[in-house]
Symmetry: C2
Subunit: 457 residues, 2 copies
């Protein structure tokens, strides 16, 4: 205490070195996470469950109440004997979170409150590939702003409004009761290499982006919203969404593959997203699986994408239509996949052969992933999911032939059922977790500072 | 408290549900880890740093003292004012840990105390490949037993005995003063697929092992030692050793490659070893990098091992000596590598061409690892390290050509300097961490239960 350190106020009211601020953040987060995972609890229960001192819990609770992240929920009887105790509950209904995705031909948005209640969810068609960076950023900002307006107008009451209700409320301009939601964080999914720490898209070939400072540019575009913007790779975020709420939710070791013209990967290891040193992990599409193979859009040869990307399938399944080599863009990809699905259902032999070939290469690349990561499941999205019933049997057989651990490393391919919303859902989840990890990043909502609302909470 | 739960005694003396035992373990570990990482501390300091209640810390400390994992170290003055306070320090000197490795042509052993002080370290030549499972297990047990005897006879005093001192003490049968070390855990490294949870080697092709219950068989062989045995893959354990004390120690995202006839990988992700769902991760040797390539020892074609394993190099560098295709055994591998190093130093053009070719394939496979894991460093061991000055420039150039993130994902190949001891050192480290994670697994040393020794601690 004689070394000129900065001080901050801690539990118990004693002055403490500033290094303890991080401990306080950790403890606030511990309490909040406990309430999220276990529901309403008394301060004494929380102290018991977390091992924190009772006075510490009370002090932390005062801050969480001030930030409106918890609320008193009245009296709770602890068991059959003893005094009745006041309980507190997570109160995330005033805190909004936005997940966005910009991809080749659409912008998607997923708006929730801190508790994960879905308030806005939609996809807007948009030709990002042909629009250039500036135009794409304007469109992303427009979709974000509209969703934020809807959230701000939306009520923060405990009743669960569906996306339809919200859209209706937004469209009619009716401000719902309850004091308004303040958006506390925004996450954006991008199909490319993202420097997560700086919110910069280093390279997104399918959008034509290079070194785009997405986080800062979107922050500027959103002006007074002042919510921190997090940017991440689409496959990473979709993998997180799969881990939280997909067909293999809770599987601690899983790989997610986007199945588009490009093929990205998101990898969950021991229940956590694998990011790597720069956030550039999971670039499965450019594994060199056939050094003598055809040219890839990235300039190299024999990348996995040239074997299993949508362009490869379309080229083999409909060879009458020339798409060139490698991973050139596929016009109207959804229509082409639908056309191939119809052909497969009708038994078209060329299409069946094409899907078998792509399936085998899917299994070969999958075997690299299983040899390296030993996941329990490989969840496939995009066109892989649409054509799963034809593709996956071939992929699975090849996988089992090639995995060095054989049947001991049991891993199955499964099709995602999250559809287009996986990445934006994942982006929202990431922001929620950031907020719960550091509740001090959430200021008291301005509306309360200006004039406290007489709400039920 | 009316549901018939089991109870255990907790901090403060109150009866608590048994579920809280895990919280107590966590807290014991928290205290022990704090002492290991920060040196001797007062109970009040520990309470402050961990956020635990003062009474809880005192209670935890009583158990740690009873288990002889900490010791009182006298008076410490807290800053410039206030009462002098008693401090405690980690006291792992009575707790021994053994790391073993069985590989194709040797058994290695690394014995330490809980603080990591090296007490036994040696390698014993042994033809595991030609000896069969039973004979190999007997040899492993013999080496382990001899090291345990040396540890048991060794003193537990604070002075750092070098391996040489210990070997001398062991050889001359002199029991050092101090009350004896009790081995509390044994880790074994094996070049193969290991079911870590059950301590079973599922498959170790280069030892000729399949479904060997190594942990239980070694436990039986060691009889009264009664230390839990942990088994893991050699590359995983060497990667942990590299992370702790190798050339790139502390690099949170790194890959380690063994460079032998087979090529194994150990992968550190965010400072933690990647294990996968079954502990079968990191099987880099059988990534299919050249589907039309030559036959591998595993029965498949074009595995990375067939391009960069020692057999591939020897075949190319000394084609006059026929080794067949794939990853067949190489007689006298150390001598062959030394011969090639001499040839390279002398400028032998055939050998230089061979090493360039192997180097490029090393870079190609490395690019898969970088695309997927985005590590900062790939540490190479075995013959890769011996021939690093010739191999790595080619590997590095190819890596940089093939990585999709280009220079943004800066990653370099570096040669390990841990030599043969990496895997057994890693095995010992794993056991130390297990013991610190769960100090309740360490019983009071039997010698103390029988008759407390009048030692300085």
């Amino acid at each position: 205490m004689t070394q000129g350190q900065h001080f901050t106020r801690l539990a118990g009211g004693a002055a403490q070195p500033a290094g303890h601020a991080s401990l306080r953040r950790t403890n606030l987060s511990l309490v909040l996470r406990h309430l999220r995972d276990h529901g309403s609890s008394s301060r004494a229960d929380i102290a018991e469950a977390t091992g924190l001192h009772r006075a510490t819990v009370s002090n932390l609770m005062a801050e969480l109440l001030e930030r409106r992240l918890v609320r008193e929920v009245g009296i709770e009887h602890a068991g059959t004997v003893g005094r009745p105790r006041r309980a507190v509950a997570l109160d995330g209904a005033h805190v909004g979170v936005l997940g966005l995705e910009i991809n080749v031909d659409y912008v998607a948005v997923h708006g929730t409150d801190l508790g994960g209640r879905v308030l806005v969810e939609r996809r807007v068609g948009f030709d990002a590939m042909g629009s250039g960076t500036n135009h794409s950023l304007r469109e992303l900002g427009r979709v974000a702003r509209q969703a934020i307006d809807e959230l701000t107008r939306a009520g923060a009451g405990p009743s669960g409004l569906g996306p339809g209700d919200l859209a209706a409320a937004g469209a009619s301009g009716i401000a719902a009761a309850g004091g308004g939601i303040r958006v506390a964080g925004i996450g954006v999914a991008v199909p490319g290499l993202v420097d997560v720490g700086h919110g910069v898209v280093a390279l997104a070939p399918n959008l034509g982006w290079r070194d785009v400072s997405l986080a800062s540019r979107l922050s500027v575009a959103l002006g007074d919203v002042r919510a921190p913007v997090t940017v991440d790779n689409d496959a990473n975020l979709a993998a997180l969404a799969e881990y939280t709420s997909g067909v293999a939710a809770g599987t601690a070791d899983m790989v997610y593959l986007t199945g588009e013209v490009g093929v990205g990967g998101g990898i969950i290891v021991g229940g956590r997203l694998l990011r790597g040193a720069d956030g550039f992990s999971g670039e499965v599409g450019h594994m060199p699986v056939d050094p003598g193979g055809s040219r890839c859009g990235c300039g190299r040869s024999g990348c996995w994408e040239t074997k299993v990307g949508l362009a490869a399938l379309v080229r083999m399944a409909t060879p009458d239509q020339a798409y060139g080599m490698g991973t050139t863009p596929v016009p109207d990809p959804e229509e082409r996949v639908a056309e191939i699905a119809r052909g497969l259902a009708g038994g078209d032999p060329l299409m069946l052969a094409a899907v078998a070939e792509v399936g085998r290469w899917l299994g070969l690349g999958g075997s690299i992933l299983v040899n390296l990561f030993n996941p329990r499941v490989i969840v496939v999205g995009g066109y892989f999911a649409t054509l799963a019933r034809w593709l996956l049997p071939f992929a699975q057989a090849e996988l089992e032939d090639l995995v060095v651990a054989g049947p001991a490393a049991r891993c199955r391919f499964v099709a995602s059922d999250l559809g287009f919303g996986a990445a934006s859902l994942g982006a929202a989840n990431v922001v929620i977790n950031q907020l719960i990890d550091d509740p001090t990043a959430i200021g008291s909502p301005p509306v309360r500072l200006a004039a406290p609302q007489p709400t039920a909470t």
